[in-house]
């Protein structure tokens, strides 16, 4: 079941949904609008290889905005910190943004229950577009889970600003196994405060 806007307001008041800063006017019929933050990440690699720590530039953008060319890919972030220990958030583009050909996530819409932080937007433009910090770009819906809840305690917990992928850490553990490159257990460094390297 999906929460209505009025239920999002109620559950926010009861601290079962956290959104900060919070503006009741941003609640819609079935969702809450998220706005674009100032910081962005752009990868510098000629070939993205999930086995390695892909190099990127992190930069801030002012009121002039950020011009994306057709086919661009950058990471942005929500200005809001969001999360819930009681509901599963899903991220969607605002339809007005989608109608301009911009993806705000790359088929990764689910946020784990118990994950709190800025949402990293995976921005892929199918047409040239200029983005401005503060614009309402995405919306979050909240869904009722069934079953015992085990809260997220993963590598992106507590994110501030856009967070680049850390998927290369999946591959570390099984580096000795040629036939199976998948991770067989959680990386022990998967703690909320794991070290960050920004290159």
């Amino acid at each position: 079941m999906i929460l209505t806007g009025t239920e999002i307001l109620r559950e926010h008041k009861r601290h079962k949904i956290k959104i900060d800063p919070f503006d009741p006017a941003r609640a819609t019929t079935n969702s809450y609008d998220l706005t674009l933050g100032h910081d962005f990440i752009r990868y510098r690699e000629a070939l993205i290889d999930p086995r390695k720590d892909n190099a990127y530039d992190k930069f801030a953008v002012g009121a002039e905005g950020l011009q994306l060319v057709q086919g661009d890919f950058v990471l942005g972030h929500s200005a809001e910190t969001i999360g819930s220990d009681h509901y599963v958030p899903l991220i969607h583009a605002k339809s007005g943004i989608a109608r301009l050909g911009l993806f705000v996530h790359v088929t990764a819409d689910i946020i784990d229950i118990g994950s709190h932080g800025h949402v990293t937007f995976q921005l892929h433009s199918t047409l040239p577009i200029r983005l401005y910090p503060g614009m309402a770009i995405a919306q979050v819906t909240f869904w009722k889970p069934k079953g015992k809840i085990v809260l997220y305690d993963g590598r992106y917990q507590g994110s501030r600003g856009p967070r680049a992928s850390e998927v290369h850490r999946d591959f570390v553990r099984s580096a000795s196994s040629e036939s199976d490159v998948s991770m067989t257990g959680r990386d022990p460094s998967d703690s909320p405060r794991a070290k960050r390297r920004s290159r």
């Binding site: 993205i48 892909n54 088929t107 889970p145 069934k146 999946d170 036939s179």
Partner: protein, 170 residues
């Protein structure tokens, strides 16, 4: 309602969900991480017709050209007669610009097979066979589901569209 990770494990034990092969370490708070299979469908135009050449993914990786669609498949057999499913990407790979489907995220109740993935990379991207690539979530139905017996339900390799596909030109 969406099942939590612990509920996915419970319902799998009860035979209501199929995930094969299965590893408890792939459970997330509200989904299960699946892996990429070993074959890839590479799009080619032959005499104006779209076809997919099926290749085996090398262990040391395969470089995808950006903004082209390839057909992949899940390593696991995934399905349920009880729940509807959604196949989505992992945020760790979405953060690198890898799409796993082209706005077709719904898995019907009753389907059980290795799922075909529509893989599109926003940037040049290297994929590896058996890498943890996406996640599946399970959703409770309201109403009695019909058994799903449509065109793709028996297929395990990357399966091209069964719509008559004629490209206007390349």
């Amino acid at each position: 309602m969406i099942l939590t990770g612990s509920e996915i494990a419970r319902k799998r034990e009860a035979g209501r969900i199929t995930i094969e092969p299965y590893s408890a370490s792939h459970l997330n708070p509200n989904s299960y991480d699946f892996r990429l299979g070993t074959q890839l469908g590479v799009p080619v135009f032959k005499n104006g017709f779209l076809e997919f050449d099926i290749v085996d993914l090398p262990v040391d990786g395969y470089a995808l050209r950006p903004r082209t669609m390839y057909l992949g498949h899940t390593l696991e057999k995934l399905g349920s007669d009880t729940y509807a499913m959604r196949l989505v990407g992992r945020s760790s790979l979405g953060r690198l610009g890898l799409f796993l489907q082209v706005s077709a995220d719904l898995g019907h109740t009753g389907a059980c097979h290795q799922w075909t993935l529509e893989i599109v990379a926003a940037l040049p991207f290297k994929i590896y066979p058996k890498m943890r690539i996406g996640q599946i979530s399970f959703w409770e139905n309201l109403g009695t589901p019909d058994a799903y017996e449509q065109r793709y339900s028996a297929f395990n390799a990357p399966t091209p569209s069964s719509l008559g596909t004629r490209a206007r030109d390349t």
